[in-house]
């Protein structure tokens, strides 16, 4: 019984939140890594593009709600994700047209692209605050829980329990579906293969007749679509707040780099590694050990490695360790 109590505790406080947060990071990191692989620069504006997608989705959700649209026990916002994706992809194309295409024509150094992307980041952040304002918005209107901690406890008779939020289930499921589609697309379709070819060797790809403009466009469409999902899912699960997307850049980039930047599978796994390690390292194991250890060995302190204040430091430490030991990342992406 004690063993199951400990498992329930870890599921409630580490596994479920970690998998959810990891999925959100993975979706973000996939966009970053695709842009790095195909367009060859680190896009610092990616966090704000996520925010932009979430914002458009919120605006349409409000509009829909004013007409009485609802999605049953699921959040209404999910209905409007496709609309938000279209707007976000259009915005990405505008950035490409007015900012990045110029530097691509000039064959600028990747560092110039990076600096330009920081400019785009600030512009987008300003635009978002201009449209929706700086305060937080809560737009999750569906049923909050699939089952709560209390329901779980009464059902199983355990002392500890875990609850499953609707948003957590949606996030994890959506991520798995989206990533399967993406991997299928990249590995098995002709267009996906042309993207990978372009990423591997641009000159050879051009010689074999791949249209570079089409590849660039496709990359933005995928990155923009994934970013919209990442932003909306994060907002549904937690809260939409324009300021936090700048803070999320660090874990997203860590995830991409840990997995091997430029490698989609790496970004996917990297997201979960970062999210789970943030939670595992800052969790207090007092109760868990209390259940697992014999009675006379029960800990009296909190048994916490790091205070939760240092949560963001964890992704930074992992990033540094990976860069020292294996600079190409776990799945051998490109070196930066």
């Amino acid at each position: 019984m004690d063993f199951f109590n400990a498992i329930a505790l870890i599921t409630n406080f580490i596994l479920l939140p970690g998998l959810t947060y990891g999925s959100q990071l993975a979706l973000g990191a996939l966009g970053v890594t695709l842009i790095y692989a195909v367009l060859r620069f680190s896009n610092f504006a990616h966090g704000e593009i996520m925010s932009f997608g979430a914002m458009v989705c919120i605006l349409f959700t409000w509009l829909g709600q004013s007409y009485g649209v609802s999605f049953g026990f699921l959040p209404t916002a999910l209905l409007f994700v496709p609309v938000a994706m279209i707007f976000t992809i259009l915005y990405c194309m505008l950035i490409e047209k007015f900012v990045f295409s110029y530097y691509r024509k000039k064959k600028s150094n990747p560092i110039i692209f990076l600096i330009a992307s920081i400019g785009v980041m600030f512009f987008t952040a300003g635009l978002i605050r201009f449209i929706i304002g700086p305060s937080d918005q809560s737009f999750n209107d569906g049923v909050r829980f699939i089952f709560t901690v209390r329901e779980f406890k009464t059902l199983t008779g355990l002392n500890e329990g875990f609850g499953l939020k609707t948003s957590q289930a949606i996030t994890i499921l959506t991520t798995i579906i989206l990533c399967s589609l993406l991997f299928f697309f990249l590995n098995s379709t002709r267009t996906g293969k042309s993207m990978r070819a372009f990423s591997d060797n641009e000159d050879l790809a051009l010689l074999s007749g791949i249209d570079p403009n089409k590849v660039v466009l496709l990359t933005w469409i995928i990155a923009g679509g994934l970013a919209t999902f990442a932003g909306v899912l994060y907002g549904l699960d937690k809260i939409y707040k324009p300021f936090i997307f700048l803070q999320m850049l660090l874990p997203i980039f860590s995830a991409a780099i840990v997995g091997g930047v430029g490698n989609p599978l790496g970004a996917f796994i990297g997201g979960y590694i970062i999210a789970l390690s943030e939670l595992f390292v800052t969790f207090a194991y007092k109760k868990v050990l209390g259940y697992l250890l014999p009675e006379n060995l029960e800990p009296t302190t909190m048994m916490q490695f790091l205070s939760t204040d240092y949560k963001f430091a964890v992704s930074f430490i992992i990033l540094v360790i990976v860069l020292i030991i294996k600079p190409t990342g776990i799945f051998s992406g490109k070196t930066i």
Partner: protein, 391 residues
């Protein structure tokens, strides 16, 4: 351009050289993070000044208030403004400042150096209770040390022995958390954990994870209702970590029960407030004068009134003289004085009679000149903050 500058200079000179006999400096943050509260606070202080002037019972002539901006957060700008009030406007006392940080700076660098009385309506940091002040500093706002005591009392009554505390990582949160912990332990309770949280984060599940492992009958959230405090409560409810929350003054507002919903029902809280008849009277006076009875407006009225009554009692507008009368005016024995009765009060002290200034916020000065503090005990019932008792 030159002409413009000369006219402006001339204007400045004429405005600063006002011809009142007694002047009160009103230094609060007209710009900065509490700028939405300060117009009503200044109006409260000016209402007291007006009332004294209209009564005609003030023996040292006409009183005027001179506003200055403390900015709430910028200590150097605040001390410069206070310096200007004393050296160029020649005020006889300072009503202010508002936020704890700038209040300490003005007290230590300007008021003590110039021997000027300061009465703050809203600085609540416990550190101001013990600061060296040469008897010059008073406040009509209670210290958070007092709130900690009230909270410990309520916890004791409700039989909650084990409590967890999550506080916002700044002077307010730290001071309040320390005070709650000290008082609760003194009353025989246990604090299982006292951990900080940062404002403006998206995700508080890690913080709540640590709090939940420590456990407790109730979670005390010493934060802000529109930011981290709300995040902690939402994440606690999601994870099933705590069912009941204690909400100190930074967490009391209509928006919190609206945002959280039914999960907050049964939570308890404290916020400065009084059921003294003075509060209602002041509300009417404020309405008649055309301003809102906002947070700390009552305390501002009381701060200005206390200084003027003390001047009349000692027949002196010199800080070094009237500072000794403030405690006596504010406390029993004597006839109770409510808002709108300043004329009567002036006549009484002139005749050498004792008064007990109750004012709008039920002033009772303790421990070196700070308000004993009156709190309303809040309980969240059916998604609304209901006042269940006063202490």
């Amino acid at each position: 351009m030159k002409k413009l500058i000369t006219t402006l200079l001339a204007l400045c000179l004429t405005t600063t050289a006002s011809f009142s006999d007694v002047k009160l400096g009103i230094i609060i943050g007209f710009t900065g993070p509490i700028e939405s509260l300060t117009p009503d606070m200044a109006a409260g202080a000016e209402l007291a000044i007006d009332e004294v002037n209209k009564s005609g019972s003030f023996s040292m002539g006409n009183v005027s208030g001179i506003r200055a901006d403390s900015t709430c957060i910028d200590s150097s700008a605040a001390t410069a403004a206070a310096e200007r009030l004393i050296t160029s406007d020649k005020v006889n006392g300072i009503m202010g400042a508002d936020c704890s940080g700038v209040t300490t700076a003005i007290l230590q660098q300007v008021a003590m150096a110039n021997g000027m009385v300061m009465v703050s309506p809203s600085a609540t940091s416990p550190a101001l209770s013990t600061v060296e002040d040469n008897n010059l500093f008073f406040r009509t706002a209670p210290s958070d040390a007092r709130q900690g005591q009230v909270i410990a009392d309520i916890l004791q009554e409700k039989g909650m022995k084990n409590v967890a505390i999550s506080y916002v990582n700044n002077d307010y949160g730290k001071g309040l958390a320390a005070s709650i912990e000290e008082n609760h332990k003194a009353a025989g309770g246990t604090v299982t954990i006292s951990a900080p949280h940062e404002d403006d984060k998206g995700d508080y599940s890690a913080e709540v994870g640590a709090l939940a492992q420590a456990g407790g009958d109730i979670l005390i959230v010493a934060g802000y209702l529109n930011s981290g405090g709300k995040g902690i409560i939402q994440a606690s409810l999601d994870a099933g970590a705590f069912d009941q929350f204690f909400l100190p003054d930074g967490m009391i507002g209509e928006s919190l029960p609206n945002d959280i919903g039914s999960g907050l029902n049964g939570s308890i809280g404290t916020v400065p407030g009084t059921d003294s008849p003075g509060a209602a009277t002041f509300g009417d006076l404020a309405k008649a004068a055309g301003f809102k009875n906002g947070p700390f407006a009552m305390e501002s009225y009381d701060a200005a009134a206390l200084m003027l009554l003390a001047m009349e009692a000692t027949k002196s507008s010199d800080s070094q003289v009237y500072k000794f009368a403030i405690d006596e005016i504010a406390n029993a024995p004597g006839e109770k004085i409510y808002p709108g009765e300043l004329g009567k009060a002036l006549d009484l002290v002139k005749a050498g009679k004792d008064i007990d200034y109750v004012g709008a916020s039920a002033v009772e000065l303790v421990g070196g000149g700070e308000s004993a503090g009156n709190y309303a005990q809040i309980e969240v019932q059916n998604g609304k903050n209901e006042t269940v008792a006063y202490r």
